[in-house]
């Protein structure tokens, strides 16, 4: 058996972590670019290979029609569900999409689980490069508020990516696990988790028993389509409007320029977490540079609607746990978006207590997944997670109403039995429609599955079929039926409303292996070489420019040495060394890059690398 890892499959970034057998502490694994964050971006190269992560993120600007980000927003959803999403995100949905969405990347078509599987496979590669061993099993985290279809889609992605998914763990619960291990916290804990595209709030009770620590989730709530992305969308819409008014440039919201602007705005957003004001300088196609100064106050007024939208679920989760904000012993912030000062302040005011931010909010979920992976792998009986189902499970009854059979916030695994009989003589089938959600009418809830219960012919009312609905520890529904007269077990083929069937998964797994055939290390070397070529060319071009006379002799010598070192490293196949040399050359040419730009543009391009100029 291979190694086991914990994976945070995020909207914006994904991470992979493991538990260090020596220290017992979880650790995130670095990728080839030296970061633990793998951008959740996938690109199909013109030569048919799949590019994932940082390399794919760069292609968002150069090949947007072959590149996709935020695919998590499409997981487990049908074409009709994502109409709002389509206005805000550059998803190219294929017209062949029926229940399952199919996305176009260049000339090919993929389902969201397949795209997520590419990300998982990339992380698996990172981990295998780190261990020098096979990785074949994983714990993957999902937003606590994910429904059955979204969970199933994530599990499918794991299978397609070549991983046995031992457990899906809810993201806020994973974060609590990481904090619990780190801080030895006890009592009632609220976890506020605002990620790139999803929001969760979970209320937990941490209990010490003689056997070990129990993390019992009391309630959870959230919004699977609310996150840092929405803040970016607000900023982008605001600036689009300003540019339209001042410069009369109306650019298509999903084009290359829009991606450039989005990138620049995310940078402004990050700077505003530290500084009281930040200036956007954005070069326009007409040669002008659009400038706008954001004060933190104006920024906060703009994004307040997003922050306010999180508070409804927070209040509901507390009400469901029958607790008040002041009953919480600890509050934990998770997700990159919680670096925003307005969010920290809002949470602190609501709970009347300073939230924990000691662990890196980007990494904490992956760390928790690694802790759970270790528990499942080693059978470490020092900790136990008791999680809940976020949404009520119901079945459709007469007149399109829904009868709730497993209420939300029930500890999982949870089950319910329903007894069915026939209404007409010799009736051979009973139709059952399973739903998830809190609304009273079936049409307002999420359809999970429809199936027909087969009944042997008999007088009306005589058959007695007991159907068992079971939500497993992953939050995924299983259905079984038993004929009470004969004691016979029926297996039920449940065709999920928004899922992929097993044979399709098999096919996707095979295809995914084909895409992945190129060896990971080999691909890294090729990518690193390509990148070094472009920076070497850019450096040579820059040195030929008269402006380069402004360099000191020392600076010039440093650049020459770095160029030589990079050239030398490219002859070998150590991609980590090549990357290191690239970074060194980038560093050595910082002043050169500045010299090259005229004063107006230079400020706009502050902090850029030479190859990007």
């Amino acid at each position: 058996m291979g190694k086991i890892v914990g994976i945070d499959l995020g909207t914006t970034n994904s991470l992979v972590a493991y538990t260090d057998p020596q220290t017992g502490q979880p650790k995130c694994i670095q990728g080839p670019y030296g970061s633990t964050l793998c951008p959740s971006v996938v690109s199909l190269d013109v030569d048919g290979t799949i590019v994932v992560g940082e390399a794919a993120r760069r292609r968002l600007l150069t090949q947007p029609e072959r590149t996709i980000y935020s695919v998590k927003r499409l997981m487990g959803r049908g074409p009709a569900d994502v109409q709002t999403e389509l206005k805000l995100f550059p998803f190219r949905i294929d017209s062949s999409s029926k229940n399952v969405i199919r996305v176009k990347l260049g000339e090919k078509v993929f389902t969201p689980p397949e795209i997520s599987a590419f990300i998982l496979r990339e992380l698996k590669n990172w981990a295998e490069a780190h261990f020098g061993e096979t990785v074949d099993r994983a714990v993957i985290t999902v937003p606590a508020y994910f429904n059955d279809a979204q969970r199933q889609a994530t599990k499918d992605a794991g299978k397609i990516g070549g991983l046995e998914v031992l457990r899906l763990v809810n993201e806020p619960t994973a974060a609590a696990l990481a904090y619990g291990l780190h801080e030895k916290q006890r009592g009632k804990v609220a976890v506020y988790d605002l990620g790139g595209g999803t929001f969760d709030i979970s209320v937990l009770k941490l209990i010490s028993t003689t056997e070990g620590d129990i993390f019992q989730v009391l309630s959870t709530n959230g919004d699977t389509h609310l996150g840092g992305d929405d803040i970016d969308n607000l900023l982008q819409a605001f600036v689009h409007e300003l540019i339209l008014q001042h410069d009369e440039i109306d650019f298509s919201p999903h084009g290359e320029l829009a991606q450039e602007l989005r990138k620049a705005l995310i940078d402004v957003k990050h700077r505003l977490s530290e500084a009281e004001s930040a200036t956007l300088r954005f070069p326009l196609p007409n040669g002008d540079v659009f400038t706008h100064e954001f004060t933190r106050g104006a920024f906060e007024a703009l994004i307040r609607p997003v922050v306010d939208r999180t508070m409804g679920p927070v209040k509901q989760a507390l009400a469901d746990a029958q607790l008040k904000p002041t009953d919480m012993d600890e509050v934990v912030l998770v997700g990159g978006a919680t670096r925003t000062p307005l969010i920290r302040r809002t949470v602190q005011e609501f709970f009347g207590r300073k939230p924990h931010i000691e662990l890196n909010p980007d990494e904490v979920v992956a760390l928790g997944a690694a802790v759970q992976a270790n528990i499942l792998d080693q059978g470490v009986k020092t900790m136990l997670l008791l999680d809940v189902t976020p949404l009520s499970l119901g079945i459709e009854t007469y007149g399109g109403a829904v009868a709730k059979i497993i209420p939300r916030n029930s500890t999982i695994p949870a089950s319910a039995q329903e007894l069915y009989t026939t209404g007409v003589d010799n009736q051979t089938g009973i139709d059952i429609h399973v739903l998830q959600g809190e609304r009273e009418l079936a049409k307002d809830c999420r359809s999970l599955a429809r199936f027909t219960l087969r009944v042997p012919p008999a007088p009306a009312g005589l058959p007695r079929i007991e159907v068992k609905f079971l939500i497993d520890a992953n939050g995924i529904l299983q259905v079984g039926a038993k004929d009470l007269r004969t004691g016979e077990q029926h297996s039920i083929e449940v065709q999920p409303s928004y899922g992929i069937n097993d044979s399709e998964i098999e096919r996707m797994l095979e295809e995914s292996i084909e895409y992945a055939e190129q060896d990971f290390a080999e691909r890294q070397v090729i990518e690193a070489r390509t990148e070094s070529e472009s920076i070497l060319t850019a450096t040579a071009k820059a040195l030929a420019n008269p402006q380069s006379a402004g360099l000191s002799a020392e600076e010039r010598a440093k650049i020459d040495a770095s160029v030589a070192a990079l050239r030398e490293s490219v002859t070998g196949s150590d991609y980590k060394l090549i990357r290191k040399r690239i970074d060194e050359l980038n560093h050595a040419t910082e002043h050169l890059a500045e010299l090259l730009m005229n004063s107006a543009v230079s400020t706009a391009l502050e902090g850029r690398k030479l190859a990007e100029v």
Partner: protein, 198 residues
């Protein structure tokens, strides 16, 4: 794994899972302790690398444990469940006839609700109607409190009659059943009014 028992074992009732007699008064702290202890033993996390039989059994036993804890923690759900396993209440039974002594008030309430809907449709004055409905809601809330108190008394009666003859037990069960129906009726009324007042 001895902790899981065998697949052939019949599913125990919620009280039996916790080793409790079929009494309606339950000490919650002790119930929680027992729940946590059993969770350690039965949870699927323990059997990830076990055999398929073990995994299935663990799923079955731990879901039964969680279902039982959910049922017993809820004082009303507990009574409904007890009556169901004692055969005194059919699953899903909710008698929808108004209790006779409430008929007049229910009639008035429904009239007010109709008026409110009409006024809303025709843009009429809502304030007065709302006040009337709010006071009706309050009155029914009080009645709900009374029923809950009566249910508690009847539950104590059941616990005391646990060792009594079948006739006595049957009488207490009938009483509990009536009270549950009454409670469910009033609760629906209150929910309807609250929905209109939103």
């Amino acid at each position: 794994m001895a902790a899981l028992g065998s697949a052939k074992d019949p599913s125990p009732d919620c009280f039996a899972i916790f080793g409790l007699p079929r009494k309606l008064w339950i000490e919650m702290a002790a119930l929680e302790q027992k729940f946590l202890k059993l969770s350690w033993k039965l949870h699927p996390d323990n059997f990830v690398s076990g055999t398929e039989t073990e995994r299935e059994l663990s799923l079955k036993r731990s879901s039964e444990l969680n279902d039982a804890y959910r049922t017993l923690r809820d004082p009303v759900g507990r009574i409904e469940y007890l009556l169901a396993i004692e055969g005194a209440r059919k699953e899903g039974e909710h008698k929808q006839q108004a209790p006779p002594e409430l008929l007049e008030e229910v009639f008035e309430l429904n009239e007010s609700l109709d008026e409110l809907r009409e006024a809303r449709a025709s843009g009429g004055d809502l304030a007065a109607l709302k006040t009337r409905l709010e006071s009706a809601e309050k009155s029914f809330q009080e009645k709900l409190g009374e029923v809950d108190a009566q249910l508690q008394a009847a539950a104590r009666e059941w616990d005391a009659a646990l060792q009594s003859d079948a006739a006595t037990r049957k009488r207490v069960m009938a009483k509990l059943n009536d009270l549950l129906n009454r409670r469910s009726y009033i609760r629906n009324l209150v929910a309807n009014v609250q929905k209109e007042l939103l």
